[in-house]
Amino acid sequence: MAEDTPGSLEYILRIGQEHRDLLSQVRHWDKLKIALHEGSYWIKELTARQVASPEIKSIPYKEIFYLKGNKLFPEGSRLPVQRMPLSLLWAPIDRGLPVKLPMPNHNFFGLKETVGISIVPSAKEEQAVALMVTAADLRMYMETAPAVRLQPLSWVIIGKDKAMIFGSPLLPMQGQAFWKKGSFLFPAGFDLEFPVLSAQLENKMDPQGDLIVWEKDSTCFRVEKAAIKKLSIASFRRSVKPQGSVTL
């Protein structure tokens, strides 16, 4: 049923001025008009459906009338109880019930509070740009690698027994994939707990063009851009200990 059928009844709500705050839950219904008269708030232009809604039903201390011929009939009654007061000053409800912001506390000096930086699982899907692999795995692949797969990649050694490979498409190997945001590399499926801080955090850590790699335990380390070299069998053989060892 359309709400604006001609002849449908207009409903009026009245509530004592002291219960003003109870109206907050219908404040966003922007068609309503409100007026103050002799200690009561009057709200007009309510529809039958709005009157039946939980928002209105859950307001206590209210009186609902329907309006017919300038007379107010209580809901369900055929006898009017009073006339509609004349010369009310109607205003849109959001103007009639303005929002007041709390005053700032000028004496607040809690500046020592800090926010812990950590990374948490995230549901966003991102393109992997790097792969962290163990030295033993990489050695097994590199010894027999087709040149075409290595060509778009570069790499850097991490610690004693890990290596990080950058580029796309990455190698078909087991390892931890990473995605990139600014200078940060996060493990795939993880993001900062407060992603909004990312730019500030980056500014503060000041990577100067280097990369900052985050690990799942929220620790991070820096990878110098200059240390990242093109991946090739020769580069790998020059960098690692001879055959048989699992460390780099």
Partner: protein, 209 residues
């Protein structure tokens, strides 16, 4: 020890390896044993540097094969520019490689032999019916690894995939790098090419079906 200016032969080969240009300094067609030693020494070093990038276990350097290919590149360029010999003599000036062709020979010879397709195409461009061009084509037909991508029909029995792991992977890599569709569509090679590119064959080589 290996300084430019010691020997014209060495200079030409160094120039070829380092800048991929042929620069001929003399019309001498004979080499002294000393000159040959210098070129072998140079090529041995080149092979050591290059084989670091070879997959699997690179085979050892083979000096006679490397020298043969260096002479071939040098003399065929010389014959394009300056020829006093009769056509019948060319085959004896540019002999085919005598000996077993294993992975070590093929890879050592390839240091200079990889430039032969360009020399052949240049000779062919100058004169379609030149005996020299025909001779070079015959030689390249026996060396499919060096001839990859040049569009030269390999001789019977030469086109099969090598047994040596290192050479086989290098051969596949070269087919992909030169996008040699004809070699890549051959039985046996095709699967290896696909395996090398894995899931990304369309990324690396769109034309390959």
């Amino acid at each position: 020890m290996l300084n430019p200016g010691q020997s014209f032969f060495l200079d030409t080969i160094m120039q070829l390896r380092q800048t991929e240009n042929i620069l001929l300094h003399s019309r001498m067609m004979e080499f002294t044993a000393e000159e040959e030693e210098l070129v072998i020494e140079f090529l041995r070093r080149e092979y050591e540097t290059e084989s670091l990038d070879y997959p699997f276990v690179p085979p050892a350097f083979n000096a006679p094969a490397a020298l043969w290919a260096a002479k071939l590149a040098y003399l065929s360029s010389l014959l394009i520019l300056y020829r006093e010999n009769k056509n019948e003599e060319l085959a004896s000036i540019l002999p085919v490689y005598a000996g077993e062709k294993d992975a070590s020979v093929i890879l050592s010879a390839d240091l200079c032999l990889r430039f032969l397709p360009a020399i052949y195409l240049f000779a062919k461009m100058l004169d379609q019916e030149d005996t020299l061009a025909g001779l070079l084509r015959d030689i390249l037909g026996e060396w499919p690894y060096a001839a990859t991508g040049a569009g030269i029909e390999a001789k019977e029995g030469e086109a099969v995939l090598p047994d040596n792991d290192c050479l086989r992977q290098l051969y596949i890599d070269r087919i992909i790098a030169k996008k040699d569709l004809r070699s890549a569509s051959m039985q046996g090679i095709r699967e290896q090419v696909q395996a090398s590119m894995g899931n990304y064959s369309t990324t690396f080589w769109k034309e390959l079906k």
